[in-house]
Symmetry: C2
Amino acid sequence: MKIYRANILFTPTPEAFKVLEHGYVVVGDDGNVVDTYQTLPEQYANERVIDFGDRLLMPAMNDLHVHAPQYRNLGIAMDLELLPWLNAYTFPEETKYKDIGYAEKMYRRFVRDLWKMGTMRAAIFATIHPEATCLLADLLNEAGLGGMVGLVGMDRNGPDTLSNTVEEAVEGTKRVMEHTKNMPLISAIVTPRFIPSCTPEMMTALGELANEYKLPVQSHLSENQSEIAWVAELEPESTCYGDAYLRYNMFGQTPTLMAHCCYTSGEEFELMRKNGVFAVHCPTSNCNLGSGIAPIRRFLSAGVPVALGSDVSAGSGFSIFRVIHYTLQMSKMKWVHGGHKEAFLSLSEAFYLATKSGGSFFGKVGSFEPGYAFDALVVDDSDLNFDNYSIQHRLERYIYLGDDRQLTHRFCQGKEIPAPRIIE
Amino acid sequence: MKIYRANILFTPTPEAFKVLEHGYVVVGDDGNVVDTYQTLPEQYANERVIDFGDRLLMPAMNDLHVHAPQYRNLGIAMDLELLPWLNAYTFPEETKYKDIGYAEKMYRRFVRDLWKMGTMRAAIFATIHPEATCLLADLLNEAGLGGMVGLVGMDRNGPDTLSNTVEEAVEGTKRVMEHTKNMPLISAIVTPRFIPSCTPEMMTALGELANEYKLPVQSHLSENQSEIAWVAELEPESTCYGDAYLRYNMFGQTPTLMAHCCYTSGEEFELMRKNGVFAVHCPTSNCNLGSGIAPIRRFLSAGVPVALGSDVSAGSGFSIFRVIHYTLQMSKMKWVHGGHKEAFLSLSEAFYLATKSGGSFFGKVGSFEPGYAFDALVVDDSDLNFDNYSIQHRLERYIYLGDDRQLTHRFCQGKEIPAPRIIE
């Protein structure tokens, strides 16, 4: 058991922060929260308390959409929209992950940067390459981070050098499943790249695989208009893009993440709601590729689950705190340019998406309520806190003005996580 | 004379970077650039060269719209749009600058943060308080930074504790003019807060002052719809918001900065073009307050001069590099949600706005062409440059991923600027 004392903030519900000024959190030997307390109960009176003084202690970030093999392209090549961007920059880069040496160099940096920015769990797209994908799982596992790793299925409309057969995609995913079965926090996720990259045979096989092994699914949905028009041509029998995934049994039949959903409405919206499909909001990416602004308030009002994603490298950084910032800003742009019809998000709502909502895809993750994994960040914001700000204002200032320098401790499932090693 | 060697980038025109890989810049004793060279001319063969090795060397940032007395509120209080935000958060904070001790504490931090993020010149709103405004000029001058400082005129629709009379605004501005007359890089700027804050008498007097002393002018224009509607009520004889400034002789009669211009079109657009009025683009602020997306491509196509502003504290940070990032992203949002009619901006265009275009308000500033002030930043991006990126990609990665940690040297008018001192 461990007991920590600090200024604790978390969001049991989207509506408000629970704030414990100089409060306590008790963490069991299983790495789960026993409970939080404003005053430490008598039964713990003789226990050692690890005191973080005036620092902030909050749930760690969860990144529900990120492409590990796009690491090198971070911060460059954002002069094209989605489809030409994939062909010009992304596919050529991902092809390099056939080389396990290159994969190790880049994947170590990827894991280090997740850690650096305070992301303790992530749903990750790898590539078509089983060896590199298993290596990525190893590196996350060694680092002590949690998440899901997807070997990508893609057998059309990409370069020959970045295509797998249906059998390779199925066997590769099974290999990742097998490889991760003894890793406590890492598992496999079925990952059809997106409809334009996957033949009906690929989709059918991956849908069967997901349902047979009860594996979760991740893919892309309604990111941009050209993509949507293309999917309508490729899948004329589907009533909408989301319906195409549904017909292949990958739209909520098992837990499902759909990244972007910028233009989801009507039937697709209803299918997401009915099937509990997650909309993974990637606002930095959507700004960088000129994709559009997703209707997050509408998703929330309708009860569609929403999580946040960095979408590196279309997203221009790993910080989910930054994604919280953009989530707020883009909800305001939606509000003002949509005639003030949909209220913009509050800070607690956006923080909830990054923590408890996104974390729920991994189990009881993202809150400090009893039984939740103690995934946590300690923030020393003394450089920002020069004028007696409230605890909640201090968190807000950290989100808007802070970076990795203020993060002094990172915990995943109760364990403090040291900096993962990179190869210089 | 000084000679520097590094990887040099600047934008003589918006269309493209001039890149000198391991090139040279020669700076005269007046602090102005003599010229840049790929190979050092014979005449300098025996001169000492200060070699920055593989680092990047580029023009410093110019912030053409920033409110120094909103420093404390940075990163908080962004749950309201402009008009209620002013009343609830901003006016109460600015009132505190009557206390010169408080002003010194905060203004020192303000100057330090400008420096920290690489901004060497700024057009600054102070408050109604002459003593604090002169102190701000002193602190900038001591630090070696350049810019313009405006004592704010505001005599209606604010709290009584934050109002000045017409005479106080005129005399206060003259006092700042007098106070700064021997400061080589600092000058006064006439600063009516915005039409709703200024009676016709205040506007008339400030317009006369600007024209009598040939002082530049800064104010706010067409930031949000409620403000525009209010101005139409307050100034029924004006054909548009911009026309109100024009009628008071503060719309290009002397050099003029108008912040925001989110909704400028039609006649107002034409008046800006004809009178060479600067549109100061503040996209982080416009996102945070839900103001809207300014039509930057239209301004540029029509020849309206455009500069960038942080608009602290509605803008959530001092980094003009971050503002470049948002300028690109918001131009993409305008492009996609406006039916692809107006092309989004390129990196070189956005960089040009932050450097040569914004800098032009201060004279020959913002480029490394002959005769330009050597305002420069040295960037050690070795932590970001792990895979042989091109020089231009390195700049792009710095803009998207870097921060103050990579800035190793800052120059203003040829002098290296050390960290300004703050009061802890």
